[in-house]
Subunit: 289 residues, 4 copies
């Protein structure tokens, strides 16, 4: 749900042990300070001893507290219930760095959706370990930085990349970036690096998954978007989808369909991330979409 | 979402003009009487002058008010905000009457889902204007009533059927019931009669829609479940879905696919209705699913 | 595509090394003997050195050869091109044995589709290692045989079951039959035993896959229908589909959705099997649907 | 299915009254001249008195006839069976003119798929009645022509556009071109102008369909691609699809989802058109995909 034609909103993301009184306390807090709730979602893993999750948005214009005042005033409530919480202003668009290698399908799709206003974020730059996609990015007026990653000095190269990134972006999108990120980058952006990869039923281990899928005659090609954690491709899942295929699909058709579903799923994951709709709980997500 | 393994819940369905303080008042009310909110959804048609909708569920076991006390205690809040509201106890399963004619696909599907525990409702009886489907219903131990509708005395026949229904069921499912209900029946069950019908892109007016769809070479067959109002097939939509087709599908294949999507969409609509997830606003629905 | 309203057809299923002249030879053969082709599909794995697959159907009424004459007359063509081939008469409905344990969702769905004429096959009997589902089967007038499988004498029990089966059925459906079949049963029905199981993205190894999927927060639940081979659940895939889910889905909801997609996918696989639309090549299928 | 990594092919599209011997004659013709069939699809509207449709492709490299020789040699066969037929060489990429107004989503999607090699066609130019989208097209090196259509002299303006088009393109794509084409343009490209438009269940007549769909609370937004005929938006349907929506979708979200499904469906229709997979029969299509 886009916020473009609406007044700006403030969004609280909250998780804490479930117990009575949480919603009452939060909504009372917002009401007292003249916020008008425009959207609220909650989820409990279990009614009696579970974890409670909430996303609650209210109009910024009528709200009488500044950001600092909000933090100060809300902290006692948060402490009372043992909350993890964060506050987000829709007015402050997230700054993103997009990482790519040579595949362009996800990049082009993101750029179009960004320019059309569908993805309300600021693209600080595109980074690539190859120079190839620079001509695609140039017309959009977005800087393109070529950071080669040399196998023999990967750590050093990625260290340099991290130094470049720090302070400039709020999250990263791996739009078919074919390098494994070093843990020190992953740790710098916890649950703030979104990756996309193909998924198959059944799963195929090892190299050349499309070839394996083709050999096995799968009837579906899928894609999974997830947050990057240290465990490669096993981070919390944000979005998934599939596309049907059959024996007529040659290897190249499977790859084309894979691209189709990858760009759709990645866009979906980016959209819910920038609208602050995702909470992470252990290795799974709550997506209030 | 099924409630079968959970403790019983109380659900409030609320709509009123939107303004600050509604959520705070409701959640405070629940908290004060020791209810623990397990699910809450809300929606506003417009932030500043729109209509507010809410579905809020809380555990029944810890809640200290009886139903009468709840109504008495909540009424002042409802009046303050000008609410339309209703209260629902998951413990009290809804009683349903299923109306059929000769097609059995929706009926069989409902019976299976009901017996498997997926649809938590009590089927009071099946009513039909034909005797044909009685053998299907008998093994389930559900009464089957044959109410013929004679063209020359339709009003009289339906009047008799209404008299039979009153007090025995909370809502009706038209599971391919091929008679048009008289307005006095529709008025007796406002937004409590669920109908299912096929839908086509584009729409086909007049008789034999499948033949028309076949002639036109449509690539999709759809189904729409809606609440019955006086305007035939134009009541608030509860659920919709489609199934793909192509030139290989003969007329009989389109009809088969139509049945497939009809039973899936009808089951979806019945499920959200019995779980009190649907609010009607004008001629549209808010479905908190 | 159903054949119910059509004249009966004869279907040839053919595979052979690809080379020019195959289609010409086959279609000339049919034409010479006054067959009128009503459907024809072909596929080549590779244009120049691949394998050729064909399914070709023609009307039986005008065709002048008896089955024996057809076999005799076609054999020289088959030998010239090195064909694997088989001939199928739509008039001869396949006889099936359905194996179940305690889950009833696939069984009920198959029975309904069979009775509605959607699945044109003869159900010889239902076999189960439990007595539980007998009441479901009885109203359909289909024999229900209880074949307990005792762990300590599994081989002996299955041997007995096989003896019962032989000569009575053309193929088997494992409609959530929770026993692993001994290789001697699998070999007795090569590519003629259809199994259904859930599929997840990513795949989960080990026990309690739904629990694992729930813990991982998957956004999709899938199902795969395949032919049974000696390698458990790794036979040629016939059909696959998925259903979306989210954090609101409790474990029981995932299981419900899994049933929904399982019965849909199993019915699809059975339909293409009984209409002779499936050819197996190595460990994959060509489905001419 | 892409042909990019294959040898070039020759494709025959054929329709004629159904009767025995057609397939034999065609495949014999191809075999005699050393063509190796790589794909063949056929369809009959009715076995005994219907229309027969065929798409048959064979490798060009081994085929011994030139185009002129093919036409000369095949004509007697075509006359014998009363065929409508055409021949297509994959080597000869179709030349297309894309017509747009101000919406860019379909245009950008087509350009990306074209550049990625997914759509094997030559884009001769983009034509628009507005200058706005020129900057999008320029980086691709494709000419952009601004043809304003003035209400008071529409016929004259479109006549001028037609003169420009003739001889330069093989087909047209209306990628959200918001002008109604004059019949003389439609007649110049029979079944060779592809249009895309949104589709709703139910259909909404009159202006502002998205507003109407929003008011009605639809749960699906669809798109239909079809060939343009004189009857506005009622030409033969090539492809259709839908996307789900719910009460949370504001008007702007419905429009965004509409764009998503429009570009997907349009690309699908263009792909099957340029691969010569579509035959038109009356007001419906046979799509051999």
């Amino acid at each position: 749900m886009s916020t473009s034609t609406q007044a700006h909103t403030i969004t609280l993301l909250i998780s804490c042990p479930d117990r009575p009184g949480i919603v009452a306390a939060i909504s009372q807090f917002i009401f007292q300070h003249q916020g008008n709730i425009c959207q609220s979602d909650q989820h409990s893993t279990d009614l009696h001893s579970g974890t409670f999750f909430m996303r609650i948005s209210f109009a910024e214009d009528s709200f009488i507290l500044s950001r600092e005042e909000l933090v100060r005033a809300f902290t006692p409530i948060a402490e009372r219930f043992g909350m993890h919480w964060s506050v987000h202003y829709s007015r402050e668009r997230k700054r993103v760095g997009i990482l790519v290698s040579k595949f362009d399908h996800c990049l082009i799709d993101l750029l179009w959706r960004w320019r059309s206003g569908e993805l309300e974020m600021d693209i600080s730059f595109v980074i690539s370990n190859h120079p190839d996609l620079e001509p695609i990015v140039r017309p959009y007026g977005i800087p393109y930085h070529h950071f080669p990653i040399r196998r023999e000095q990967r750590q050093q190269d990625e260290r340099q990349m991290l130094e470049f990134l720090l302070g400039k972006v709020d999250f990263l999108i791996l739009a078919r970036y074919m390098q494994i990120l070093e843990p020190f980058i992953v740790h710098a952006y916890p649950h703030r690096i979104i990756n996309i990869h193909h998924s198959f039923l059944p799963a195929f281990v090892g190299a050349k998954p499309y070839e394996q899928a083709f050999e096995r005659g799968v009837k579906l090609i899928g894609a999974t978007a997830h947050y990057v954690t240290e465990r490669l491709d096993e981070g919390p899942i944000i979005a998934q989808d599939v596309i049907h295929c059959n024996h007529r699909d040659r290897l190249e058709d499977l790859i084309r369909k894979g691209k189709e579903v990858e760009r759709r799923v990645l866009a979906q994951a980016v959209r819910v991330h920038i609208e602050d709709r995702v909470l992470v709980h252990g290795n799974k997500t709550i997506v209030f979409d």
